[in-house]
């Protein structure tokens, strides 16, 4: 019996050009465009320098800041009022003010203070921008000291050096981080939306009556709905992996069968969620809104953009209670770090539990008899 259900579902899906186009082309476009857009690396900070000094020292400082690659000089002026206008128009993110007689006073007083105004609406950018400036100033300061202090006047200071090593992503390439995460989201959206709309559509059209009056078993019906999307999900995932490889040169470090194994398990869970929503809804519009609502929460809390560690306890609890979180984490683990089956076992166990609960729930809630 299952065979006939599957045959029908496959034919219906693969015959619908619009849906197929959406399912196969959209993810590719998104996977190509999104990582380009979702570049969180903080760079290109708009810098405005208010130089009231115009001494060689001040100019050297300005030159070092722009040469760092983090900043884009959008204003070099002598009036703070101009800088303020740039700040308000969003044309400047940081304003560094160099006081009058900076160079001379530094020599005379042995100390000077610069003031830095940061547009902190975007907290992350502000924090890092300020940190970069401080670091560059320190380098600049050290260079000046080396130049001005006669050797021997001060004892050589003991040196401590810090040597960072960046594992898995030595050049701190943000796209390497985003691509597996976006792939996870795409698989989630395709699976969730299509399965949520499916049963509801049969309800709207009325064909579900004909199924309900047949002696078909409920779990066969749900299974028949589930498996085609499960195959489709794997196809989308495969396409995504290829795009990641061809466009971004990301080759999974870990075992590919393990990756597919996990995605397969995950698809069962997310499709179960979609089908469950579908059994509760009467119209496609409702199903879509409700799915959108859950997807939004899951994706935002899933650790795609922001680290899970920095969430408050309640939010972390919600995040862990969502299969999406685990998929995003495991995708990154296997693709970027080469994690093994043992490493992802806890996540797999949780996702499997979800798959079981959601699908059983969907079967129970799908009623052939009202």
């Amino acid at each position: 019996m299952l065979f006939f259900l599957l045959q029908k579902e496959f034919k219906q899906i693969f015959r619908n050009r619009t849906i197929l186009a959406v399912v196969l082309v959209m993810p590719l476009i998104q996977l190509i465009v999104l990582p380009l857009a979702a570049d969180y690396e903080v760079k290109n900070i708009n810098l405005c320098i208010v130089d009231n000094d115009r001494s060689p020292e001040a100019q050297r400082l300005a030159q070092q800041l722009t040469a760092s690659g983090y900043f884009r000089l959008t204003g070099y002026t002598a009036s703070y009022r101009d800088a303020q206008a740039l700040l308000e128009a969003d044309r400047a993110d940081v304003v560094l003010t160099i006081p009058p007689h900076f160079g001379r006073a530094l020599v005379r007083d042995g100390q000077q203070t610069l003031s830095l105004a940061v547009n902190a609406i975007n907290g992350v950018k502000a924090g890092l921008g300020a940190a970069y400036i401080t670091t560059i100033l320190q380098t600049y300061n050290n260079a000046i000291r080396v130049q001005w202090i006669q050797p021997g006047r001060f004892p050589a200071a003991p040196i401590v050096k810090v040597a960072p090593v960046y594992w898995y992503n030595p050049f701190l390439n943000y796209r390497v981080f985003m691509v597996p995460g976006i792939l996870a989201v795409l698989v989630t959206m395709i699976g969730g939306f299509l399965s949520a709309l499916n049963i509801v559509q049969e309800k709207e059209v009325g064909t579900i009556e004909q199924i309900n009056v047949s002696p078909i078993k409920k779990h066969y019906f749900i299974l028949g709905k589930l498996l085609p999307f499960w195959v489709l999900g794997n196809v989308v995932f495969t396409l995504g992996l290829l795009v990641a490889r061809v466009v971004y040169g990301i080759v999974p470090m870990g075992s590919i069968p393990l990756l597919y194994g996990f995605v397969t398990l995950y698809l069962l869970a997310i499709l179960g969620l979609g089908l469950l929503i579908s059994t509760y809804c009467e119209t496609q519009q409702q199903a879509m809104l409700i799915t959108f609502f859950f997807m939004m929460i899951f994706i935002l809390l899933g650790g795609l953009f922001t680290p899970l560690d920095s969430m408050p306890t309640w939010a972390r609890a919600v995040a862990y209670a969502s299969p999406v979180t685990h998929l995003i984490a495991v995708m990154r683990m296997i693709i970027l770090k080469g994690s093994t089956a043992q490493d992802v076992l806890p996540a797999a166990a949780i996702v499997a539990t979800f798959a079981l609960i959601l699908n059983v729930w969907a079967i129970v809630n799908y009623r052939k008899t009202s």
Binding site: L5, Q7, K8, V205, Q210
Partner: protein, 246 residues
């Protein structure tokens, strides 16, 4: 009379305060063409859905093909065919694919399934359009196809809910030929309709008014009973007293 194939005993369905079907009691014999009439909103569809195991009765009992509809709906479903008011084949599947699918979920297997499909296509003269999407067929063809699909698995009873809405008299006549053919093979036909000429074709007719069974007999006896010239007049006399409309 042998053991009736459908037995309804004070079958009732309530939706909140509203009593859609109010304690109806009747029997249908094996091989009968049973007409189930009533104005819109009289409770026909609700009663039929209960008999098909789609809806659980609020009270009362009904046995269909020897099984209780409340306790064994899935066994009932194994023995019946159903064609709903809303056309319910898959429009984006072809004629042949629909036949294969519905035959398949009723447990038919090749080669029987293939043979039945061929028979059906031949009988309806649909060989030429077997590969076409059902959505592209004219309504009359769709209805004949839907009926044939509903009896593909040789059910004991077939339930038809206003099967001939919206088609011309000639096509309706052809459709009824199919019903007679099925009845001749021993399939009990349970049909709701609004067309009184169709009511004349039935062996027995029941008329529902406001959720109750107002009359039940052969068309001839009903006409005698109400002193009417046609079923139209019988229906009019009964339905005039109805409290609820659409």
């Amino acid at each position: 009379m042998a053991q009736p194939i459908i037995q309804a005993d004070k079958l009732t369905k309530r939706f909140g305060d509203f009593v859609a079907t109010d304690a109806i009691t009747f029997d249908v014999a094996r091989g009968e063409i049973f007409g189930f009439l009533g104005a819109n909103g009289a409770g026909k569809t609700t009663a039929m859905r209960m008999l098909c195991g789609l809806s659980t009765p609020s009270s009362g009992h009904a046995q269909v093909a020897g099984f209780d509809v409340a306790t064994h709906p899935e066994d009932v479903k194994q023995n019946i065919g159903y064609m709903s008011q809303k056309f319910s084949l898959y429009e984006n599947l072809t004629v042949a694919e629909n036949i294969t699918f519905f035959g398949g979920i009723y447990g038919l297997r090749n080669p029987v399934l293939r043979e039945k499909r061929e028979q059906l296509l031949t009988r309806l003269g649909l060989h030429d359009v077997a590969g076409k999407h059902v959505g592209s067929l004219p309504l009359g063809w769709k209805q004949k196809l839907a009926f044939s699909v509903a009896i593909l698995h040789d059910p004991k009873i077939v339930f038809l809910d206003e099967p001939t809405g919206g088609v011309d008299p000639f096509t309706r006549r052809q459709f009824w030929d199919l019903l007679y053919h099925a009845a001749a093979q021993g399939i009990t036909v349970f049909v709701t309709t609004h067309y009184m000429d169709e009511a004349e074709y039935c062996n027995r007719v029941s008329i529902m008014v406001d959720g109750r069974l107002a009359a039940l007999d052969t068309p001839r006896r009903l006409k005698e009973l109400y002193g009417a010239a046609s079923m139209d007049d019988v229906f009019y006399t009964l339905a005039r007293g109805a409290q609820r409309g659409e």
